[in-house]
Amino acid sequence: MPWIVENLWLIAFLPFLAAGISALMPRAQKKASSGIVIFAMALSLLLSLKAGGYLLKAGSSHETLHLVRNFDWLPYGDTVIRLGFLLDPLSAMMLFVVSFVSLLVFIFSLGYMDHDENFTRFFTFLSLFAGSMLALVIANSLLLLFMAWELVGLSSYLLIGFWYQKPSAAAAMKKAFITTRIGDLGFFIGLLWFHYASGTSLFYDQGQGALDPTKLSILGGSAALWISLLVFCGAVGKSGQFPLHVWLPDAMEGPTPVSALIHAATMVAAGVFLVGRMYPVFEINPTALEVVAFVGAFTALFAATIAVAQWDIKRILAYSTVSQLGYMMMGLGVGGYVSGLFHLFTHAFFKALLFLGSGSIIHACHHEQDIRKMGGLKDRMSRTFVCYMIGMFALSGVPLFAGFFSKDEILLDALHFHPANLPHFASRIPIVFGLIGAFLTAFYMMRQVKYVFFGSPRDHGAQHAHESGSPMTLPLIFLALMAVATGFLGWPGHSWFHHFMEPAAEAHPTNLYLMLGSIAIVLIALGVSAFVYSGEALRAGAVDPLEARFASLFRVLNNKYYIDEFYEKTFVLFTRTFSRIIVRFDRYILNGFFVWGSALIVYGLSLVNQLIDEAAINRGFDKGCRSVRTGSQWNRWIQNGLSQHYLKITSLAIVILFLLALFIGRT
């Protein structure tokens, strides 16, 4: 077995180790703690690159596609639950993305979190997250994946609530944890079913793993459908798909590097990764993939419309993330395994770039996040501006930037989406939603950029803004380079990425009309947005042109379709009422009847006991005590502390001795 496969676990272990060491460090050791964490991450990145390089060198022969290292974990009875680590193109790709973005975000945090007194704790949590995410990626067992899945959920929870003194952050961390837990329940049931149906929890195991063709063929159509849908529940929760998307925008309460790393680039993509990993199961029953496609397409459009009417710079990006994750799901759902993952790949870089850029802006504007209070930052923060523009072009899908290639791949696959069991108009929904979503994406990104960078400063925070230091701008530059470069890996028709991920399958031929159409849509959207948000609209105190034109629609969008309020009025209210009933039951039936009843019986018994105690035991004890006391009285007389008394005894003793000596001397 090659060295790198044997030691694949090191990639995840190193950040865990760094987190452990950093956790034990005193709070003042900022340099040492961040140094260890960054060093461990850099080593992980090197190992990830080595793993990727090994796969590249090994070529595309089919046996080398899934290199595994399995081990026994939990023996019970005759069976053993086995876990393992897996190196295949999917995990190699994710390893690179996660470790690369993590490293840059860590470096960025050096600058961003510099003044925070809990700097060490922040790096500990970041490293814990990176370790769990890397473990998730290389897991060769749905069970191990689930463990890592919960660990990233935990670190996300800890980092969203990093500033837990803020009530909004404390609420957001709980919301994120509970909302994703709803999805995870489905995932867990799916996991058990999957284990039961295939008899092993390993994905690949020399032809005996659950995802190996021999085992897959045992799986029935309906079982596969249910397992897929249950696992997809987990993905919906983690990747912020409708209807469990509500936690992701609130998660922006965390520090911005956290938003960039966890809630844009890596953890939220874990849901997409999970669907990608379980793709062979999803493929068995076409209905499963159709559900994925429609949920994804709806989320992509739905979140994009909300993003148009938001004011908070990070919330716009958060809804954009939800929307882009929808695209990825849609890509996977319409049969584009490679295109969905390619979008995951490129999105990780340019969305991390945008979030770190927004972090740089927020840092410069004294923690102001409202884009209405920014403006004119173009000249004050030129480096951030250039990087942000690159990220924005990549996200909008401007030709030759990364997002263009990956989004086009998804749309191309959506165009070829013709399942036999769906009517024609239904199979057109993904492509139509995707195109409208692309229009909205370009529109809201241009709106945000105009508000933030153009016009004149509308608040004193923006007036005094200046460029951030190099720990913050350097990662931006690296990510900006990646946001351009990664796109070319998926050049239409000659996609290196496609060849790497799935050498056997052929991609759809490029459709020139679709490509030109989407380019036109993006350019029109950018133009319209730039036109609408110019001149008067960027003055201080001006009303958003959309708000002026479509007041009621804008209000609905600004309030996110009132979904939070709806949940508040239904699920939350129901849970609260239900728990109130439970409390009543507890207080009156359980506590009142059972607890008090048994307490009274115990009380009666103890009264009897007390009588016995007093009569039998106490008396005997008292007697003993009295005799000891009498004995001590005499001792006390001798030892009373009066020196004259001692002297008297001494003299008496001498006299007695003298008399004794006298008598004995006589005889």
Partner: protein, 102 residues
């Protein structure tokens, strides 16, 4: 004629007076005075034995002089202790001072 027995009886009487003082007086200073008397009774014995047993060496007188020096030192230390005790208890009655704890 004054014999050795006279001296020994005198010493015994002085000793008993001293002992009685030590055992009965309440004032610690008077207890110290009693102690001095007991020591001096010893000195009388030493000198008397030296004189009547006809020793050529000056050992008896030397013992007495040493005893007087030691008694002086003892009196100094005793009085200093009494002052310290008085400062603490505002009292030098030996019947009141019965505990080691301050």
């Amino acid at each position: 004629m004054v014999t050795l027995t006279h001296y020994l009886v005198l010493a015994a009487v002085v000793f008993c007076i001293g002992l009685a003082g030590v055992l009965t007086r309440r004032n610690a200073i008077m207890v110290l005075v009693g102690l001095e008397m007991m020591l001096n009774a010893g000195n009388i014995n030493l000198v008397a034995f030296w004189r009547y047993l006809g020793s050529q060496a000056m050992s008896g007188q030397m013992f007495a002089i040493f005893a007087i020096a030691v008694a002086g030192a003892e009196a100094a230390v005793g009085l200093a202790l009494l002052i310290a005790v008085y400062r603490h208890f505002r009292n030098v009655s030996v019947e009141e001072i019965s505990s080691l704890k301050g």
